[in-house]
Each structure stands twice: as C-alpha cells, then as structure tokens.
C-alpha cells in the first residue's frame, strides 16, 4: 500500500515538474495530434461543395450561350435573296412587286429559293403570312424593311392647249402614246422634257412606247402642222403606288 502511495507521489511530483497538476488535466487534449484532422475534413468538404457549385454555374453558362448560328444565317441569307435584284419577287432592289407577292406561295418558295430546303420557313409581309413550309415557330427571325409596289394603269386624254404641252401627273419610267391626228394635220415631233423622243417629217401616227426618266416629271410637247383637237393624243402610263412594310423571315431547323 505504501509503495503504491510512493509511486503515486513520485508520479505527481514528476508531473508537477512538467507544470501539470491534477487541475491542468484538460490541457493534455491539445497535445493530441489528430484533433486537427476534423477541421481538415470540414475544409475539404467545403472545397468539394464549392467545386460542385462552380461546375453547375459553368453548365448554366454554356447552355445559355447556345446560338443556333445556322438558323440565323439561313434566315438572313434567305431575306437577302428575296429582296435582292435577282429575285423573282422584286422590281428593283428592296422593292417587291405587289401582284407577284400575292401569287407567292410555298411551292414557289421552294423552287425559287433552294436554300430553304430542309428547313421550316415562314415568310411574313406586314404581319400576314405570305408563304409557309412546315411549322417555323421557335426558330430564328430576320426582319427587313421593304417597299411593296402596286401598279395601276392610267389613261390620259389631254386637251392640248395653245402650247401643245401635256404634263403627266405621276412620275413613271415608261408610257405609251397613241397619236391619231385629224386628216390635214401632221405631227412632226414629240418631245419629253425638251428631249426629242419621236420625230418623223412625214407625220407621226399610231402607237408608240417611249421610255422616260423615273426621277423627274415628264412634260410632252407636240410639234404639229395644223390643228390638234382633243382626242388626238392619248397617253397610257403605269402609276406605281409604294407602301413601306416589314418582311419577316423565320427559319426553324
């Protein structure tokens, strides 16, 4: 009994030398090396979660960057072809012919514009569908500003005054003149804006198709020997009416 007591006392004094008494028992826990490992585990767990979040964000960014580049390109190319100079629908660049546009349908779309093969295409002019092949909702659209031209044929039978000048009320690129003078009258020259367009010293009579300038108002001047009553000259000309609208081409591939 005594020896155990002595051993204990020696043990206690040894621990007292090291600065540890029974009261300092709790401090021995900090000497254990593996108490730092749970902190490491938590740190690695947080790192894994952060990596997972990063991957989710990258996935979302990649998905939102989808562009459907092919559909957009086909839509813009098809729109350029439709309003171009070589198109079957246009009078000039960006000017669509109204009657040909009314006749346009899906068959003509596939025949005249082979780039639309293999895609669902919808063409709208001024919000109404002109031609459609398949269901194109959900595809890429391309808009262009165009002009739709409708032509009306007008006839003018002027009462030629003393100057024998008649001015056309509309600018037009061509006209048809019907000259039928009375028996004793000879119409020698017809001028359009001081430019001689018809001349015959023996007298002009009959139907003549003349080309005029679209950019200026045309005034016809007739030079004749003898009286020119009303009805001797009839002018037939096309009067174009233009409307500015939007062409929308939607392509779904």
């Amino acid at each position: 009994m005594r020896r155990a007591f002595e051993v204990r006392r020696r043990f206690q004094s040894a621990r007292a030398e090291r600065g540890q008494t029974g009261m300092d028992r709790g401090q021995t826990d900090t000497d254990r090396g593996q108490t730092g490992l749970p902190a490491l585990a938590i740190a690695l767990l947080v790192l894994t979660v952060a990596t997972g979040l990063g991957l989710a964000v990258a996935d979302g960014a990649l998905a939102s960057a989808e562009r459907d580049a092919d559909e957009s390109r086909v839509a813009s190319s098809l729109a350029a072809r439709i309003v171009g100079v070589d198109s079957t629908l246009t009078e000039r660049e960006n000017v669509l012919n109204g009657t040909r546009l009314d006749r346009f349908d899906a068959n003509e779309l596939e025949q005249s514009f082979p780039v639309s093969a293999g895609y669902d295409v919808r063409i709208r002019v001024n919000e109404s569908v002109v031609a459609e092949t398949g269901d194109a909702s959900g595809g890429s659209s391309f808009r262009r500003l165009v002009v739709v031209e409708r032509t009306q044929r007008r006839t003018l039978q002027p009462d030629l005054g003393f100057d024998r000048v008649v001015t056309l009320p509309r600018r037009t690129s061509r006209a048809t003149l019907n000259i039928s003078p009375p028996q004793d009258t000879t119409v020698t020259t017809v001028r359009a804006n001081d430019r001689v367009i018809l001349h015959d010293a023996d007298g002009l009579a009959g139907e003549f198709a003349v080309a005029l300038s679209r950019f200026e108002t045309t005034a016809f001047r007739f030079t004749a020997v003898g009286p020119l009553p009303a009805g001797s000259v009839t002018v037939r000309y096309p009067a174009p009416r233009t409307t500015k609208t939007t062409l929308v081409v939607t392509v779904d591939g």
Binding site: G33, Q34, L37, L62, D70, R73, L78, P114
Partner: protein
C-alpha cells in the same frame, strides 16, 4: 488510454497526405469526365458558328452584276477548333466543315443568286483564306483559295 496520441509531426504528415490525395482525386475526376465533355460542347458550337460565318462571307463576296468583274474577299477563320486544324470545302451546293473529331463539323446550304454558276475550292484553317470571283463563259464562278501573304 488518455495518454495515447499522435505527435504533431505525424499530424502534419497525415494532413499533407490527405490534401494531396484529395487534389489528385479531384483533378482525375474532372479531367476524365467533366472537362472533355465541356471541350466537346464548345468545339461543336464553335464549328457551327464558324461554318455559318464562312457561308455568310462567301455570300457577301458575290459582286454586283457587271460584264467584266473580278473580286477577292479575305475571310478570317479561327486557326483551330478543339485544338485541331480543320478544312472547309464545297460539296454540291453545300459548304462542309471537316474536323478530325467526330462530333465537330457540319454542313450547310449556300444561298447564291442564279448568276453564280459554279463554286469550288477548299480552305485549310490557319492560312490566308480568300474567296475570289471571276466571270467565265458560263457565268460567275466563285473559288475558295489560299493566298500566300
């Protein structure tokens, strides 16, 4: 039992070992599974956009209608897609992008006016790629060529 513990040196050694294992494991997982998938997705998207851009440039290279006309238009293509060079060529009325990887590539139709009678030639990425046009007996001919700078 209270006195059994690991010394700090061993603790640091265990920490280093765990961290190295973690980083190695994470890197292996990412590079084996996730990173190639993303690179493939980006590569195919790049190929589609490059093909669309090339088709648009070729269509824009058609000159206005005139009797004697020659034109040369330079087209800038990305030098590589998905780390490899590629080729763009014409097949029938379509433009084709050829790439060594199977998922990357594509073909698309060209919208050319009827006065263009023929288009041929091919491009290899990384060079000075141009598209030239000239008139011959049949009509307008477009050619994909590489010019030496």
């Amino acid at each position: 039992m209270d006195n059994r513990a690991v010394t700090p040196v061993v603790e640091k050694a265990i920490t280093m070992g765990v961290v190295v294992l973690f980083v190695g494991g994470m890197t292996t997982t990412l590079f084996a599974g996730v990173v190639p998938t993303y690179r493939d997705a980006v590569g195919s998207e790049m190929a589609e956009r490059t093909l669309a851009m090339a088709a648009e440039e070729i269509e824009r290279a058609v000159p206005p209608n005139a009797t004697a006309v020659r034109s040369t238009r330079r087209v800038d293509l990305p030098p590589t897609i998905r780390g490899a060079g590629y080729a763009i060529r014409v097949d029938g009325g379509e433009l084709v992008l050829d790439h060594p990887r199977s998922g990357v590539g594509g073909r698309t139709t060209l919208a050319l006016p009827p006065r263009v009678t023929r288009i041929d030639g091919s491009w290899a990425s990384g060079g000075e790629t141009v598209v030239t046009s000239r008139r011959d007996g049949t009509g307008l001919v477009l050619e994909l060529r590489e010019e030496s700078p």
